[in-house]
């Protein structure tokens, strides 16, 4: 009985030695996310506009129905999203929008600190998504 107690105690004592910590001091020290990490979305820009052609595949495939797209045409007759909003409160970060996009106009960044104060702050408009 005492042998087992001593064994347990020795295991915990062994971990007391320096160099055994596995956690990091989070806000000061951040872990690097893998390249595939599915964080905050980002609309990819090309010259002077977003790459998106407003084909409506992402709102269609989205299982949470959190993407709102309204398409319009510019003077050159190109389609572009007049409105492109992602409701981050509904988004489940499944990555289907990225998978569905035929022109690779949307991608997911490694940003994961998405807490905010107001409900409106979670409506990510086209401008915010282009910036992120």
């Amino acid at each position: 009985m005492f042998k087992e107690f001593a064994k347990g105690l020795s295991i915990t004592l062994k971990h007391l030695l320096p160099g055994n910590s596995t956690t990091v001091a989070y806000p000061k020290q951040k872990l690097e996310m893998s390249p595939r990490f599915r964080g905050l979305h980002r609309l990819v820009p090309t010259q002077h506009r977003e790459k998106c052609v407003a084909c409506y595949l992402c709102p269609t495939v989205c299982p949470a129905k959190c993407i709102t797209v309204v398409s319009a045409e510019n003077d050159k007759g190109e389609k572009y999203p007049e409105v492109y909003t992602i409701d981050m409160l509904r988004c489940i970060f499944c990555g289907y929008c990225v998978e569905a996009c035929p022109v690779e106009a949307i991608e997911m960044t490694s940003a994961y600190e998405l807490a905010n104060f107001k409900r409106e702050d979670f409506d990510f408009t086209k401008e915010r998504l282009l910036r992120s």
Partner: protein, 394 residues
């Protein structure tokens, strides 16, 4: 005047309680510290996943299954994806590499789930250090998850007909290193728990359920195997190429919490064995079945090839339409038999999806395991049943 003043006390345990593993509510009738009656109340985490899936394409339901048993997302993915593949009749067309990777991920998931179980079980009984040690290893698995699928918990990695992406470079070695290190870590947990008299006293003979009672209720998984029933779907009804691997199914006769603990620990050892075998057998190859009507085409082809672009648009907007019919596919999830029953009416949405969650069935054993025992045993039994409310309430 002699009046018998003893009466039972009804205590409401949960849904906000540190050790009901989520939002389980237990109405306990106590006589002193002895439980006279235990009534589990469920439904606090109901999200209607079965109903939601009737309004989603087969493809869109995959991320919902992540959220069933959120401690073992890939097992749920696997069960669902296999079910849809069976419904489509394309089970034989799944490439070998896909099957191997699915097995690796499913077994990693088993380790992940069992690690959380051991962590919480030990913490419930008061050994709090095991909690952190288990989470240290679980962190490695979530890292692997993140590298392979992009998310640490809600993986959404498997697709109907294949995988969303191949393993990234160097990950095979990482998985191998991890699987090789796992037995040593299990020794460490055992050093803190198995031989410890207090742990033995808290678990041996606690929460007994006989093999007959377990079968009557429908208990599956480690809880059934610890009652002496040798039943494992991986071996008895193999799927995804499990018949190629050499592994043992740990079975014990004790029917109690301690034996369930030992069975799960042995399962963790076997899981790392299976992972290593699958890694040895892993060969390069395609990661999607050759079914252009079902699997999404390569992104490069979508840009360059009009036919692929049309397929891409068709599959994304409409999904695929299985023939009318119904199937049942079950997998050995970490918690027991996870089954998906799908009915297709020929449209792109399931007509009905019924999930058989192992936790839900196993939870039914709780009242007869705790009645007549002490309050502290309720905690031990909730821990040993390894329930996840996301799965119970769906």
């Amino acid at each position: 005047m002699a009046v018998n003043n003893t009466e039972t006390m009804t205590i409401n345990m949960g849904p906000q309680h540190p050790s009901t593993h989520g939002v389980l509510q237990l109405i306990l009738e106590l006589d002193g510290e002895i439980v006279v009656k235990a009534t589990p109340h469920i439904g606090f985490l109901h999200r209607g996943i079965e109903k939601l899936s009737e309004h989603r394409t087969y493809h869109q339901t995959i991320p919902l299954t992540d959220r069933l048993d959120y401690l073992a997302p890939m097992s749920n993915n696997l069960g669902y994806v296999l079910a849809v593949e069976k419904l489509l009749g394309m089970t034989d067309e799944i490439p070998e590499r896909v099957q191997r990777i699915r097995v690796i991920m499913a077994e990693l998931t088993r380790l992940k789930s069992h690690l959380v179980w051991l962590a919480c079980h030990a913490l419930d009984i008061g050994a709090m250090t095991v909690f952190l040690y288990c989470f240290r290893e679980r962190e490695n698995i979530t890292d692997i998850y993140e590298k392979v699928s992009g998310a640490r918990m809600t993986s959404n990695y498997f697709r109907v007909g294949g995988l969303s992406a191949d393993l990234p470079d160097g990950l095979e070695q990482e998985i191998r290193t991890f699987a090789e290190s796992m037995p040593a870590h299990i020794e460490e947990y055992e050093g803190l728990l198995t031989g410890n008299r207090i742990w033995q006293k808290r678990t041996i003979g606690v929460g007994k359920i006989s093999a007959e009672a377990a079968i009557d209720i429908g208990i599956t998984g480690p809880a059934l195997r610890a009652s002496g029933v040798d039943w494992d779907l991986r071996r008895d009804n193999p799927y995804s190429g499990y018949e190629d691997y050499d592994f043992e199914v740990p079975v014990r006769e004790g029917c109690d919490t301690f034996d369930r603990y030992k069975v799960r620990l042995d399962e963790m050892r076997q899981a790392s064995r299976i992972i290593l075998q699958a890694l040895d057998k892993l060969k390069p190859g395609p990661i999607l079945a050759d079914c252009p009507k079902i699997v999404l085409p390569n992104k490069q082809d979508v840009v360059n090839n009009i036919e692929s672009l049309i397929h891409h648009f068709k599959i994304v907007t409409e999904g695929f339409k299985p023939e009318p019919g119904e199937i049942y596919q079950s997998v050995e999830a970490p918690k027991g038999e996870l089954g998906f029953y799908l009915i297709s009416d020929g449209s792109s949405h399931p007509f009905r999806m019924k999930i058989r969650p192992p936790s839900f069935v196993n939870l039914q054993g709780l009242p007869q395991m705790v009645e007549g025992r002490l309050l502290a045993d309720v905690i031990a039994v909730i821990g040993t049943l390894d329930i996840v409310l996301g799965e119970i309430d769906r």
